[in-house]
Symmetry: C2
Subunit: 209 residues, 2 copies
DNA sequence: GTCTATATAGGGATAGAC
DNA sequence: GTCTATCCCTATATAGAC
């Protein structure tokens, strides 16, 4: 594997583990057993590394946030949507740990992240609208608007919230994500009609087991 | 006013404005037209300033999170609870901007913040339980548990979420808080029975106007 | 491409005069 | 209580040899 890619990969790993502000370029070089000078041969600065990682994150997230086009959305779509979003956030969780800090240093990142956030809200709203039109959900447009925002908030910050609450001893990765999906589904559930609502509850029980 | 207090006050202001990691002890001294040495006469280090501010935050938050003892809680309690929580977060928003960073450097803060979070969840759950017992709310214990956590997440991160979404031009302070309260109320609303649900909707409309 | 050595800058913090 | 001067350390980044 090329050094450039190894740097990106290791940076991501260390950032996720310890938080981006704590990881210096020297740490990254150390971990890779290369010299700091070598690292700066491949990247102009730390910011470029972050930007590259962000690009990858953005590309993945954009595919995750595709609104299903052809047909009417259903609970499957909601489930898939949440699942992909949570996996993506988990993979690039360093961004979410220090959002303000990272976005505050880089205007381009700020703008792009904002776009992703809007898209998250819009996709959630679109799916809810689809569910309402399909008769699965019962909610007014105002309720859907508020709901979509709440979905975005919980999806965005759930992992942060959990990492603060949890002590060192921690359940596995997949369990954490599953809990997040459950948590967001529980936002949607009260608006669902009988059958779908119970389906969600059942899904959640399996999920949490 | 004593220099020590002026330092605390100015620190809080600068931290809230620019984020704690960006504000150095020199910045604080500059803003106050005192020397860095003088600042270090009053405080051992930057961390002590943060700890003192945190103490004030904690004290205020704990009074906000009192569960009403004597009587059965109602929607008034929920409203008051949210209002106080949001005002408090706003006053010490620098903590929330860089939560991971700040809590990661100070074990004591981490423990205390975690306690506050648990309390937030418990208070929300207690109020919901009260509403359910009073016949105002219709929700299972599992639903209340998930709801209380979602309330805590949205209440904790709403201002962060908004500050990322919003461009520079921004509506006033009270509007931001009101929107947050509305957003959390919309989590609770679907579980309320007819009259109360409409009361919330009406309350929200007034609030947002 | 990779290394060693080093420049530069800034932040945290202290010593000692006043 | 306050100031000036300064020290130390760490992080980013560069220069130039190999």
């Amino acid at each position: 594997m090329k050094t450039r890619d190894r740097i990106l990969q290791t940076s991501l790993q260390l950032f996720n583990e310890c938080g981006e502000p704590r990881i210096t370029t020297n740490h990254i070089a150390d971990e890779l057993d290369i010299s700091p000078g070598n690292l700066y041969y491949h990247f102009r600065n730390k910011d470029e590394i972050i930007s590259l990682l962000f690009q990858r994150f953005e590309r993945q997230m954009e595919t995750a946030l595709q609104v299903p086009e052809r047909r009417v959305p259903d609970m499957e779509d909601m489930w898939l949507y949440l699942h992909l979003v949570f996996e993506n956030i988990w993979e690039y969780r360093f961004l979410y740990r220090d959002l303000d800090n990272i976005l505050g240093r880089n205007k381009k990142l700020r703008i792009h992240f904002r776009r992703i956030l809007e898209r998250k809200i819009n996709t959630a709203a679109a799916i809810c609208k689809g569910l309402a039109e399909a008769g699965i959900m019962d909610a007014t447009p105002e309720e859907i608007a508020a709901l979509a925002q709440n979905i975005a908030v919980v999806a965005t910050y759930w992992l942060n919230f959990q990492s603060i609450r949890a002590s060192a001893a921690q359940s596995g990765e997949s369990g954490k994500l599953a809990l997040g999906v459950y948590q967001v589904l529980s936002l949607v559930a009260p608006f669902l009609k009988g059958e779908a609502r119970q389906l969600v509850q059942q899904l959640s029980r399996e999920y949490l087991a």
